[in-house]
């Protein structure tokens, strides 16, 4: 922590709004009170989360060093900053950047903070936020005051609150948009920030704005509340409005949002958002965290009941002048260029510049102007790069820059005449990499690098794939170049793997008695059309074989695609069975530990992945065989369910997925109780008694979530399936099977 923390308050006196200054004084007091043990740790945890101060891996004071799990010797006289979270353990600070809009001054402050409080790297997230890692909680208020002095708040960046309002980084300059959504995103941000009706949620609430339906810049369909700009002719006049969807979201099981209103007038946007917040706060789940997102409320009620309840709530709201004040003048708002328009230059034989022009430059709807995307590897940039970007944005534009959901920056309003000089300056700062939005531009969550929930190294894998692809990206077929790869370190989908062409999420599997990092390969997702469809996992492959898997999948696509066929359509046409066959060999003939220890470690991490000698041969052989046999059946069944769904057999698919859950639950029960029958009632009853009542099955972070999938599926076994509910059941079955694997391995380790 910094020696100078107390100096910033005085130094920035008068530069913060009175409200921000008050808020931060209060937060400072809350930190002090927690230090004195006068605030409960759970209360403090939510308090700091609502200020964006998040936990980080190893903050429970334990770390596996490759041989054994060791205690990290944080001061033991210090309080905790949350349950099981050491006070001194470094944490992550999330910084909200509404719709990605930043100024050069803000970039410069971000650079200072990355250097002084973090590890020198500022990281852009898949929701246009910034994250700084390894930050000490006692530095938080100085850091936040410095941000507040340039108009950035971290308030409600985490916790059960309205999170960053995201939006198209091309809003206002895109040729395809209905209109510029930026002023509305800004209005919603201001309106909901700290709003009393948005403080009592069971979980987070994520809004997003898109300017059009066909592209993916805003990803409206995968948000709790998604707004897409639309216009209508009314009495010969063009009227603005929003197509509003609700209840979308990725998470463990992704949900497509439902249409709340096909055309909502802008004046209704804020009151409806307020009413929706009230309904979510009042009726949303609070106790069971895993069911507490608004998507579950919408799914349980159905969109009609949800809409009706929100509209009733809307009718009861007391009028608030801000509903219209905040959007006044939105129609006339427009950024301005610094320099006169000009034509785009030729690459003139400069190959790298030519590639960059092709992938990173996009024509604005304003003649003679272009956007330039700064492709950041894994969303990371240094303090010097932030300062260089600030200089470049000032030199060539009026400071018009935005972060993107693909973890990049977009510089807007670049005159065609300046493009060449801009490229030179970006390249000199190490920011001129080509391949924005291409297969190389891999999106990844933090994974095991810093996330407490990470199972496999998503960033390690992303870096490895980037390295291999960058050697040959522009030699690849165009169809491959434009694919999207997205990676999550676990099933929680922060890397948005469901909406990639090729998605991965981390899982762990036992191999020859050791744990081995794996990734589930997720295919069939769609990035375009605002995340138009979600993929499903087809097979888990050892982490070290994922680069081969990418080669196989892309090779097969190239060989077997029809002319002009997009990847998602190709996957749907050939079917997952065939693609899986292409990959099956990667799950076989796995090397013994001694023959290839590297196979048993994750990317860029030499530590052995397993927690040691996981009961190698310790359990009775018969039981292990029965277990493994049953689990392999369950996995086959869940895959078959996908195939059935693809063929249009929703009912059969849902039933098959449910049977896979029963099968895997039975596999676990059978270890203790060999005589358990095949009767689902008995299996579930025994499972509940042995694994739920005892808490043995519960995940350390997700708690009873996965067990609840089984119980809910069993309870509704007789309910007919739609295509959508079958899709959910398949996802749940897959996750339940993973949880059975984890529980089994954990039990074996304990027993061993």
């Amino acid at each position: 922590m910094k020696a100078s923390n107390s100096l910033w308050k005085e130094r920035l006196d008068g530069q913060l709004s009175a409200q921000m200054a008050d808020e931060l004084d209060t937060f400072e007091m809350e930190i002090d009170l927690r230090r004195q043990g006068k605030v409960d740790e759970k209360v403090f945890a939510e308090t700091r989360l609502r200020r964006g101060a998040y936990g980080q891996r190893y903050d429970n004071g334990q770390r596996y060093d490759g041989v054994e799990t060791r205690q990290l010797a944080f001061r033991d006289d210090a309080e905790t900053k949350g349950p099981n979270t050491a006070w001194d353990a470094p944490g992550m600070q999330r910084i909200k950047i509404p719709f990605g809009g930043m100024t050069p001054d803000q970039l410069e402050v971000m650079a200072e903070l990355a250097e002084e409080y973090s590890d020198g790297i500022a990281h852009i997230t898949t929701r246009q936020d910034f994250q700084l890692h390894f930050v000490h909680i006692e530095d938080a208020t100085a850091l936040m005051r410095r941000l507040a002095a340039v108009g950035i708040t971290t308030r409600e960046a985490c916790g059960n609150s309205v999170r960053n309002v995201t939006g198209c980084p091309f809003a206002g300059v895109c040729a395809d948009e209905a209109f510029d959504v930026s002023p509305y995103a800004d209005a919603l941000t201001q309106f909901l920030l700290g709003h009393p009706d948005a403080q009592n949620f069971g979980r987070k609430f994520k809004p997003s704005f898109s300017g059009c339906h066909q592209h993916s810049c805003g990803l409206a369909a995968m948000h709790d509340m998604g707004m897409t700009a639309v216009t209508r002719e009314v009495d010969g006049e063009t009227k603005r409005g929003f197509r509003v969807v609700v209840g979308g979201g990725l998470g463990t099981v992704p949900y497509q949002a439902k249409v709340f209103d096909e055309f909502m007038a802008p004046e209704e946007l804020l009151p409806i958002a307020q009413a929706m917040s009230k309904v979510f706060a009042k009726h949303g789940e609070k106790k069971v965290r895993s069911r507490a997102r608004i998507k579950f409320l919408v799914a349980n009620w159905g969109i009609e009941k949800f809409r009706e309840t929100v509209l009733e709530e809307r009718a009861k709201l007391e009028h608030d002048p801000r509903w219209t004040e905040l959007i006044e003048g939105a129609e006339g708002e427009q950024e301005t260029p610094l320099n006169p328009p000009g034509d785009l230059p030729e690459s003139n034989g400069d190959v790298e510049f030519g590639h960059w022009l092709k992938t990173n430059i996009r024509t604005q709807r304003q003649d003679g102007y272009f956007t330039a995307t700064v492709a950041l590897p894994l969303g990371d940039m240094t303090a010097d790069q932030l300062r260089s970007l600030a200089d470049i944005a000032r030199k060539f534009t009026n400071g018009t820059i935005r972060t993107t959901v693909e973890q990049n920056f977009v510089i807007r309003w670049v005159s065609g005449a300046d493009v060449s000089a801009l490229y030179q300056e970006l390249a000199a700062a190490g920011l001129g990499e080509a391949g924005a939005g291409a297969i190389l531009d891999i999106v990844s969550c933090p994974g095991t690098d810093t996330c407490k929930l990470g199972i496999s190294s998503s960033r390690g894998l992303a870096a490895e794939l980037r390295k291999r692809l960058s050697e040959k990206i522009f030699e690849l077929d165009e169809a491959i170049q434009s694919l999207h790869i997205k990676i999550s370190g676990c099933f929680n989908s922060c890397g948005q793997h469901h909406v990639a062409d090729i998605g991965f999420y981390g899982v762990a599997r036992g191999v020859h008695g050791y744990k081995v990092p794996h990734f589930q390969v997720v295919l069939g997702g769609q990035w375009e059309e605002n995340a138009g469809s979600y993929g499903l996992p087809i097979v888990a492959i050892p982490s070290k074989r994922i680069p081969d898997a990418v080669e196989r999948i892309t090779g097969y696509y190239l060989k077997s695609r029809e002319k002009g066929e997009q990847f998602v359509h190709f996957v749907n046409r050939v079917g997952k069975t065939k693609i899986r066959q292409e990959l099956d060999h990667l799950t076989q003939n796995l090397p013994e530990h001694d023959a290839d220890p590297d196979f048993y470690a994750d990317w860029a991490d030499p530590r052995e992945y397993t927690t040691g000698d996981i009961g190698k041969g310790e359990c009775a052989g018969e039981v292990i065989s029965a277990y493994e046999f049953a689990m392999s059946d369950a996995e086959r069944m869940v895959f078959n369910a996908q195939v059935l769904l693809e063929e249009g057999g929703s009912q059969k698919a849902g039933e098959e997925a449910y049977s896979a859950m029963i099968k895997s639950a039975k596999a676990l029960v059978q270890i203790d109780y060999d005589d358990v029958s095949n009767d689902p009632d008995e299996v579930v009853e025994e499972f509940e008694e042995r694994f739920c009542d005892t808490g043995v099955f519960y995940d350390p972070f997700a708690g009873p979530k996965f067990a609840n999938y089984l119980l809910a599926a069993h309870k509704s076994a007789a309910t007919p399936f739609t295509a959508e509910s079958a899709h959910y059941r398949i996802e749940e079955a897959q996750l339940f099977i993973e949880a059975v694997h984890s529980c089994y391995t954990k039990e074996k380790t304990t027993a061993g």
Binding site: Y58, F74, G120, F134, D384, A604, P606
Partner: protein, 186 residues
């Protein structure tokens, strides 16, 4: 003037002769074997960032990195927590720690010929509230640094070059006419 959060970076001599990925393995081992005294937490891999922090050994009070800022590989020591004592003590802790890490890495990679420069180092104060990069800071710091370096290096044949970009942290490049003696420093 109180100088805290001192950073010292000693550059690799010539081109780097080791694949930076190998520092990951070494740093993990240092954690496991407690090679460096103090609380070590994890290793961060930023090799994908052009001119970035390279490979970092993250600790509680300090970080060590094989850093590639400015495209120059070197051992960077960053003292993060406030230190008691006077300015000399704090400057000395940073310089010693960096020199010690260089020695360890030279031993680890002796076969690869990894060598760090004996011609000088960079010294940064990582705190803009205590030491903004201004003329006033330079005026106040110069005598402190001169006196410390004279005693730490054991001679006066060195030159200081101040960081000229005002937005960057206050810092100096120390160029010494007599080679640095890592054994004596560490």
């Amino acid at each position: 003037m109180e100088l805290q959060h001192v950073n010292v970076k000693i550059l690799v001599d010539g081109d780097i002769t080791v694949d930076p990925g190998r520092f990951i393995d070494v740093f993990h081992r240092w954690i496991r074997e407690g090679v460096i005294e103090g609380l070590l937490i994890d290793v961060a891999d930023y090799r994908h960032v052009p001119h970035g922090p390279g490979v970092m050994l993250i600790g509680f009070d300090f970080d060590y990195s094989m850093d590639n800022a400015g495209g120059n590989w070197g051992m960077l020591y960053n003292h993060k927590s406030p230190l008691d004592g006077n300015n000399d003590d704090r400057l000395s802790t940073a310089l010693k720690s960096a020199a010690q890490a260089c020695k360890l890495l030279e031993t680890e990679f002796a076969d690869d010929g990894l060598k760090f420069s004996r011609q000088g180092f960079e010294l940064i104060i990582n705190d803009r509230a205590l030491a903004p990069n201004t003329d006033e800071t330079w005026d106040a710091c110069q005598p402190i640094l001169q006196s410390f370096l004279k005693s730490a290096l054991g001679h006066e044949e060195f030159e200081l070059q101040r960081e000229s970009e005002p937005r960057r942290r206050f810092g100096v490049t120390v160029e010494t006419k007599q080679p640095l003696d890592f054994d004596a420093l560490a």
